[in-house]
Every structure is written in C-alpha cells, then in structure tokens.
Subunit: 233 residues, 2 copies
C-alpha cells in the first residue's frame, strides 16, 4: 500500500493519495487545486496511474473546475464525485471503488451537504467535512441539514470500530488524524449533545449569521464557498 496525506499550508485542506503498488494504480480523495503539482510528482515517483478522483462533497466552485481540467484528462483518470451534490457519477451508499485489489467503501453521510459521502479504506475513514476533529464542519448552503449531519455522524460513523483512523478534510488546530473512539468520547458536539440540542444550536448560529449578514467564508480548499455558515460553534 501507498498512502500520502498532503496538507495545504495556507488553509489546512488535506488531499489524500492512496496507491496500490502491486497494480500500480492510485486514487485521490478531495484533491486541492494547489496540491496538484505534488500529487502529480508523487504519482510519477512511484509510477502510479491515477484511476479515480473521489470527492466527499461538492460545492460547485470555480476552483474545483480547475481540478477537473488539470487532473481529469490525465492518465485516463475518471472523476467520481461520490457525492450526489453534483450530477454525474454519484456513488450510492454501500457501493465500492476498487484499484487493483484495494477496496474503498462508500458511506452516504448527508448533512454537511445534501450529498456528502465518506470513504472507508482498510481501517481509514476519509470523512471530508462531515466530521471535524473535535469539531463540527460548517453547514454549507441550502442542501445542508443539521439533523441529518447529527444522524450521519452518530449513527453511521460512530458505529465503526473504535480504532478506525479518521482522516478529515481539513487540519484543525494542527491535528490531521484522530480515531472513531476518540471522537466518540471527546468530540464536543457529537459526544455530548442530544440531537435536539445540536440542531437547535445549529439553527441559532445559522439564524444569527443570517440576521447580521455574518455569513462566514468556508475554510474549504481553494473554494469560494462564500455562503457557508459554520454551525454549532
């Protein structure tokens, strides 16, 4: 196996490169535009052919179009959004993505966006913005739903084995990895709050942001998600 976590030093966005050295195939998860030269260099170094670009979610930003333009034409890579946020090759819950004999499992986890998914590979979970380490991702746009997010995290992600390594979409306070057991115990949003309290806190925050026009820019990699509102802070 081959695994690289590529951190963007400007905004903490994390790109993941997963390779099968036997079949010389790779997939990339949530590629950040600024990290494309690194991704390409790593693929070349190990002579890996990029088979899939996988997204955990999609907000339809211009910057992401650059990713498609740059990566999509390379080495026959196929872009799979995973998420139903964008029409195209959305992957249903329970589906799998293979590269050689390596298997990624798709978990539908709506909430952060309507079509958010997570990918499970071996004992590693790639959760995009569905679960922040010791935090809660923003509710980004009209498709977001606090109740669904709570259910996705507590009923789907938190039922995975405790040792499952959690690799998020962004570093938070310098942290780039956690485990399901840790987040189940210590995440201040999902470990402690009831569903009702969580949803109420999200609605309060969203309402306050709307009233004051204080819609915060999302932290997402290279993306102008200007309508995103951080929830449950």
């Amino acid at each position: 196996m081959y695994f690289r976590q590529i951190a963007d030093s400007t905004d903490g966005a994390l790109t993941y490169l997963l390779g099968n050295l036997a079949s010389q195939e790779a997939v990339v998860i949530d590629p950040a535009p600024r990290q494309l030269p690194v991704v390409r260099a790593l693929l070349a170094e190990r002579e890996l052919a990029l088979r899939r670009m996988l997204y955990t979610h999609w907000h339809g930003d211009d910057d992401d179009a650059a990713v498609l333009a740059l990566l999509g034409v390379q080495a026959g890579a196929e872009c799979v959004f995973g998420s139903s946020d964008r029409a195209g090759q959305a992957l249903p819950d329970g589906d799998t993505v293979t590269f050689g004999d390596e298997v990624l499992h798709v978990l539908a986890t709506p909430g952060h966006s309507a079509g958010s998914v997570c990918y499970l590979w071996r004992d590693r979970l790639f959760c995009g913005d569905t679960l922040e380490l010791r935090g809660c991702g923003p509710l980004a746009g009209p498709g977001a739903d606090a109740g669904q997010l709570y259910d996705s995290v507590t009923q789907k992600l938190f039922t995975l084995p405790g040792e499952t390594l959690v690799f998020p979409g962004h570093a938070r306070r310098g942290r780039t990895v956690s485990t399901i057991a840790e987040e189940r115990l210590h995440n201040p949003y999902f470990a402690v709050r009831t569903r009702d309290a969580f949803v109420e806190a999200c609605n309060r925050r969203t309402g306050a942001a709307t009233r004051t026009g204080n819609s915060t820019t999302s932290h997402h990699a290279g993306a102008g998600r200007r309508t995103a509102v951080r929830s449950a802070a």
Copy 2:
C-alpha cells in the same frame, strides 16, 4: 492485518495488539496488566496465537512481573523486552520481529530510559514513552538522559516519513494517535527548542524536583514508577 489499540480508562496506558490473520499470529506491545483479559479475549475471538510480547522499555516494576506470569506461559509466547533496560532478549537497533509475513523494525531510541526502543510496523510507529503526543515523556530514573532523548526524537523519529502514524504509550489529553509530520511541526518540546535549551529545561526540572522532594509518580500503566521525574514540562 488486525490492529487493536486498547486504552486503560484509569491511566490512559495504551496496549497494542497486532495480528496477521493469514498466519493467525499476533504480537502485543507494552501490554498493561489490567488489559490482559481484553488481550486474551481478542486473541481468542480471532483465533490468533500470541508469538511475542514486546516492550518499548522496562522499569522493573512488580506489576510488570504479573504480565509475564499471565501472558508468558500462554501459547508459547516469547517475551522480548526489546529494550536493554532488562537483561534478556534485548533487540539491537535495526533488528526485526516477524509474525507471518508481517515485519516490525526495531529503532533504538535511548533517553526516556537507557534502553528504550520504538517499533515500526508498516506506517505505524509505536514509541512507548519516548515521544508523547504534543509532549515529552518523563525522564525515568538513573538511566534517563535528556540529550539522548532529544537526539532520539529529532534525529531518528522525526526523520521518518511525515505520514507515519505515531502510537504512543499513553493517551494525552484524550489523544491516542498523531503523525510524525504533526509532531515535527507542533510538538512544543522537540519542534521548537534547541538541544541545549531542551537539556537545560530538563535539568532544571529534575533539579527542582530533587530539591523539593517533588518526584512525581509516573503515569505508566500499572507500574509503581515512583522515582520518575517528568521533564521539560
């Protein structure tokens, strides 16, 4: 592969169970006495034969003798201290431990104790008390050496690939995993301080503790390491 991180809820000590499901063999790293029933249950559940008990270091406590008594007689398991802290089957730097086709590499990392070692398995480092997550382990007893500890961490562990997962001997502030890249960037002891400043801080702390008789009890699993002095806090 099979991997379990077993946390002791009372003192945060972490026991690691590594299994090869193909050959049905396992090794355990730094088994905490209180977790032995769990270790045994997991071995039985997966029908794994315990081949080795590996220690990253050894302080010669009575409680640890219980581990030997309980585990050492089971299923032909061999106790390898790894560390030269105890006469016996100490493993030299660069040696390997195998279970089926799985390979652990031994890294000599003196400092926390004279004979401390770390184990590297795939992209996972088991570092005992040599490196605490965002912290610095105690300098435990007469064999400890602040300068050696600094060199072991900065010149040996920090030269591993950034993605290497760091599994420590104890949870710290709820954290049970980090990466080399994270610790290289954010560990407040080793990422920032020069060797001289680090050694001076350790000596000052040790001296203060000695003068006031404030030798703190080590946090180590099930161990009466009563002479341990936390360093560089």
